[in-house]
Each structure stands twice: as structure tokens, then as C-alpha cells.
Amino acid sequence: MNPRYRPLAATTLIFVVAYGLCILQYPGMWSTRILGNFLTDNAFLGIAAVGATFVIISGGIDLSIGAVIGLAGVVVAVLVSHLGLHPIAAFGIVLTMSAVFGAAMGAVIHFLQVPPFIVTLAGMFLARGLASILSQDSIPISHPFYKTIMDLYYRLPGGGRLSAIGLLMLLVFLFGGLIAHRTRFGSYVYALGGNPTSAALMGVPTGPVTIGIYALSSLLGGLAGIVYSLYTSAGYPLAAVGIELDSIAAVVIGGTLLTGGYGFVFGTLIGVMLQGLVQTYIVFDGTLSSWWTKIAIGVLLFLFILLQQLVFSAHKAGARLKKAAA
């Protein structure tokens, strides 16, 4: 097997084994209902995590995702419930706004040469602050269109439901994978993460690519906010607090290196599913308290970075060659 795929294979294997162990203990977990709920409950996290994957592969970080989700949800709610716009129009406005917001952050990162950590921290404060100014409370959305979308589902064999937002998440992962591995933009992202200087010397337009990466991340954050507003039928300024760290954890568990230049969009899907699995297991167990979720995710995170460290120190020479090739 190509050593490139080893961390990804290890992550997938661990997910399959963990899921198998869960099923051995609780046979009820082997059902398409559980799988369908997995997708629906983690849809917004998954969509946001695809954006985080691109940012992290490029060697950056985006702390503003959670705040963008909150802001997008509130703006949709204000546009639909207070101004009476049709949700589709509201979605268009929100997605455009999000992309512009991300592009602005990318532009600051590129042109001022400042660490993404601080720029996106400012973006996080700004987005969260704007959302709180728009509304302090949760704004309910009771448009018939929302009900129509949430009633859409595809019945899986075994009684499970693949909801519209679950399907949307899978589509985002599919498109994310295609963009990362099959387009010029995708290879630019890898090149930038591997080594920005050599990328620039090889003719990668680093400015537009950086702006594009953060625009994509915020665009997906906006989409995740729309999905979250569909999921909860409301817009709330404090929604999805800390989701940026969950999505970063999902990306890292999925085998993407935080140093940039290496990773897979598909791995992030496994990372999101593993976090969902931990939560579902704790619900099934019933005796474990909710704080075990946090501890388990922390331990998982540790095990995966340890695994990566081992894989990469064993193939350090190979990894260097790969980076040069990427």
C-alpha cells in the first residue's frame, strides 16, 4: 500500500474497530437509524470541518468558524422572520456575506503577513459580536420552506432516514474531496501548506489561493450556519460556540497534519464520525456522565497525534520526499 495512505487507513481501521466493539456491546447500534442520525446530528460540524481541512492543509488555522456559524444563523433568522425574505434568498445573501468575510480575513493574512491565529481570532470576536448585536435571543424561524426541507429524507433499508442536511454534508465532503484532489486549486493548497516559499517560487499564486482558502472556509461556515438553523429551526447568536476546536480536532483525528501540506478530506469525515460515535456510545451506556465525552475526545485526539508522530518519524525521509513532490 502507498505509505501516503497509511494514517488514513489507520484512522478508518480504528473507526471500524471502535464501531465493531460498540456493536458487540450494544447490538442496537448496528442499524441504519443510528447511522442516519449520526449524519443528521453532525451535519453542521461536518460541513464546517471540510473548510477547516482546507485551511489546515494549507498550514493555517481558522478560529472564526463557530462564530461564522452563529452569525449566519442569526442573519438567516433576521432576514426570514423579521424581514420576510424567502429562505432561498436569505441563504444566498448569507453565503455571499460569509465568503466575503473569509476573503477579507485571507487578504489580511496574505497582505499584512500576520499569523492566521490572530487574524481569525479577530474574525471570531467580530462575527460573534455582530451576531449578538443583531439579536441577544434565539429567533425562531417558522417558514413553511424550513418544514419542507426538514421533512425531506431518503428512507434507508432498515428504517433509517438520510435527511436532507445529512445528504448535504455528504455532498460537501464529496465536493471537498474533488476540489482537494482533482483541481488545480487543491494542489495549490497542498503546495502552500508544504512550503509557502517554494510554492511561490513554483508559480503558485499565493495571494489568491490564501484568500480563496479562507473564503471557502467561511463559506462552508455560513453553509454550516444555515444547516444549524434548519436543524434547530432558529438563529441564536451563541450557537456553535467552540465548534472551531471540535472541527480542528476532527481534522487532526482524520489524519491531517497541523503543520500543513498533508491530509485528506475523507479522513475528516471519519474524524467527525468518531466524535459522533463517542457521543452515541455514552448515550447508549446511560451510566457514563457527559464529561466522559470530553475526556474520551481528548484521549482520542492524543492517540491520533501520537499515531501520526510515530508514522511520520518512521517515514521521515519518505515524508520529506512526498512533501517535495506534493
Partner: protein
């Protein structure tokens, strides 16, 4: 210590702090009133120092960590763990010395864990400390068994709300820690070592610097600082709240360090200026509260402040700005931007 020259005293951070305080005074004329009551000072200014102390203490440890080109995201969670330990010790009636040392020991353990991941295993600081940030709050809840543990221990309450020489105890601790840490890094070679590691770790290694153990020690120090802040926070509310103690304070601490002029890329650092950064953040919070603005504006003002600092510190713009600033007597760019914020 050397007497700092006037030029050094007029650092952009101090001017910014004065600007924010001046703004507070304009919107709330009683801002500088300080009263003496019940053997201690009272007033908005004292309140800024008191409320800013936990972030200031965090920023002291964070400065050293960021100077080595690292970052510690777990300090908020470590605060929660330390607070939980202190409260549990108080409730179970441990001797005072154990009650005070146990949280510090736990904080140091947390810091050593981070340091182990960063320094020995060579894991990126961001993700290495993310582990404890995620898991730490779970551990804190495990210690308090999910409830808010309240206590009536006079010593812990004194640390959180008492006063010494008329100043609130948290501020006294922060000042003592700041002076101690500053002397330690500037009167010995440690500060130079830290900067050497931050600027170029492998070069530091080639000069026979034991960067491994030094980085380990610095993360341990960061953990101890977080534990002190956690004990203060617990004493302040007379209880340990595993969910909310120190929540998102790691971001404030990092922000304070960045405002203080320490680059996230490591190297040059200043502990007192980080503390000034923490005070700027708190002065803005207090200013927005006393001026009657809705607290939501706080985040926007904070974002605006970061953007201004980014522009000022930006590697590309800094030389141009320097030229502009040198042509004028004071630094007007900061003052005006603070007032508009």
C-alpha cells in the same frame, strides 16, 4: 533595576492603556475616583486591576510559552481543574498548606504534560495543548462530579476577595508574580535562552542550550500560573464551576501577550507589557460596562483593537509606520484609534 528612560516608558502599550482609561474617564467622569473604606481601596480603577488579575497571571506564563514559539490553549481548562482541586480540598477539610499546594501541583502536572508533548514528543504546541483543553474540563467535572462545589474556607476566600496593603489580593499576587518572573528572566540568562529558542530552536541547540528541559519547564510554569489564576477564580466565587471557570480566557491571555508586543512567531518578549495588555483588555471591558454600552459591543471593540495591533505590528507595514511615527512627536495612530474604539 535600571531606571527606565522616558522613551521606554512611553511604549505604545502604555499609551494605549492611558488612552482607554482616558476614554473611560470621558464617558464616566467618576472613573478615577478611589475611596478608602474598610481598610482597602475602592473604585473603578481598582476594579480594573482586580478583575484583570487572572488574565494578567495567565499572560505571564503565556508570554514565556509564546516566546518559545509555542502556545498554550489549555490554560482555561487548567484553571478549572485547579479550582476544582482547591474546592475539593477545602470541602474535605485538608490542611491549609495542602489546599494551597495541591492545585499548584496539579497545574504543574498539567503543564508538564503539555511540555512533554511539545518538547519530548515534538508535537505542534497548538494541537498538543488542544488535547488538554478538550479533556481538562472533563477532568475538572470528574473531580467536582458535575456539580458546583461551594466552600466557606477563609483562606481561599481571602485569596479570591481579600486585600493586602489596601489592594485586592488577586492584584497583589499578579504584581508579585510579574515582578518575580520579570526579575527571573531579565536578571539571569533564562530570558536570553527563551528568546534564543523562540528565534531558532536548532541554532539554540547547537549552542549547547538544553532547549528540551527548558521548554518543559516553561510549560510547567504556564501550568502553575494557570493554577494560581484558577485558585483565585474559585476563591472569588467561593466555589468551583468546572464548566465556566476560565472559559475562553486562553484567548484573552494570548491576546494580552500579543498586545504586549510579543510575536506569535517567538523571540522578543516582555512580561510587564503582557500584563499591561491584560489591563488594556480589562479596562475596555470595564469601560464598556460603565459607559452603558451594551456588553455585546465588547467583542467588536476587541476585534477592532486586534486589527489595529495587527496593522501596527505587521512585518510588511511596520517599517512604513515607523517612518510616519518618527516624524511626529507622539504616536497619534494609536491614540486616535483607541478613542474611536
Amino acid at each position: 533595576m535600571r531606571i527606565p528612560s522616558v522613551k521606554r516608558l512611553l511604549s505604545p502599550q502604555l499609551i494605549a492603556l492611558l488612552g482607554v482609561l482616558l476614554f473611560n474617564w470621558i464617558v464616566f467622569p467618576g472613573f478615577f475616583d478611589v475611596a478608602w473604606r474598610d481598610g482597602r481601596f475602592f473604585g473603578s480603577l481598582i476594579d480594573v486591576i482586580n478583575r484583570g488579575a487572572p488574565v494578567a497571571i495567565l499572560s505571564i506564563g503565556m508570554t514565556a510559552i509564546i516566546a518559545t514559539r509555542g502556545v498554550d490553549l489549555s490554560v482555561g481548562a487548567v484553571m478549572a481543574v485547579a479550582g476544582a482541586v482547591a474546592a475539593t480540598c477545602a470541602v474535605t477539610g485538608q490542611p491549609v498548606i495542602i489546599m494551597l499546594l495541591a492545585p499548584l501541583a496539579v497545574g504543574m502536572l498539567c503543564g508538564l504534560w503539555n511540555g512533554f508533548l511539545v518538547s519530548i514528543l515534538g508535537i505542534q504546541p497548538f494541537v498538543a495543548t488542544l488535547v488538554l483543553m478538550v479533556a481538562g474540563r472533563g477532568v475538572a467535572q470528574l473531580i467536582t462530579e458535575g456539580s458546583i462545589v461551594t466552600f466557606n474556607d477563609p483562606v481561599l476566600i481571602f485569596i479570591g476577595t481579600g486585600s493586602f496593603l489596601g489592594l485586592p489580593m488577586p492584584a497583589v499576587i499578579a504584581i508579585a508574580l510579574m515582578v518575580g518572573a520579570h526579575l527571573l528572566v531579565r536578571r539571569t540568562a533564562i530570558g536570553l535562552f527563551i528568546e534564543a529558542i523562540g528565534i531558532n530552536r536548532s541554532a539554540a541547540n547547537y549552542t549547547a542550550l538544553r532547549s528540551r528541559s527548558l521548554v518543559l519547564a516553561i510549560y510547567a510554569f504556564g501550568g502553575v500560573c494557570a493554577a494560581i489564576a484558577g485558585t483565585i477564580a474559585a476563591g472569588d466565587i467561593r466555589g468551583a464551576d468546572a464548566n465556566n471557570t476560565g472559559l475562553w480566557l486562553e484567548l484573552d491571555a494570548i491576546l494580552a501577550v500579543v498586545i504586549g508586543g510579543t510575536s506569535l512567531m517567538g523571540g522578543r518578549f516582555s512580561i510587564p507589557l503582557s500584563v499591561v495588555g491584560a489591563l488594556i483588555i480589562q479596562a475596555m471591558n470595564t469601560g464598556i460596562l460603565v459607559s452603558g454600552f451594551p456588553p455585546e459591543f465588547n467583542l467588536i471593540v476587541k476585534a477592532g483593537l486586534i486589527i489595529i495591533i495587527l496593522v501596527l505590528q505587521s512585518a510588511k507595514l511596520a517599517p512604513t509606520l515607523d517612518r510616519i511615527i518618527k516624524q511626529r512627536p507622539v504616536q497619534p495612530s494609536i491614540q486616535t484609534s483607541e478613542k474611536t474604539g
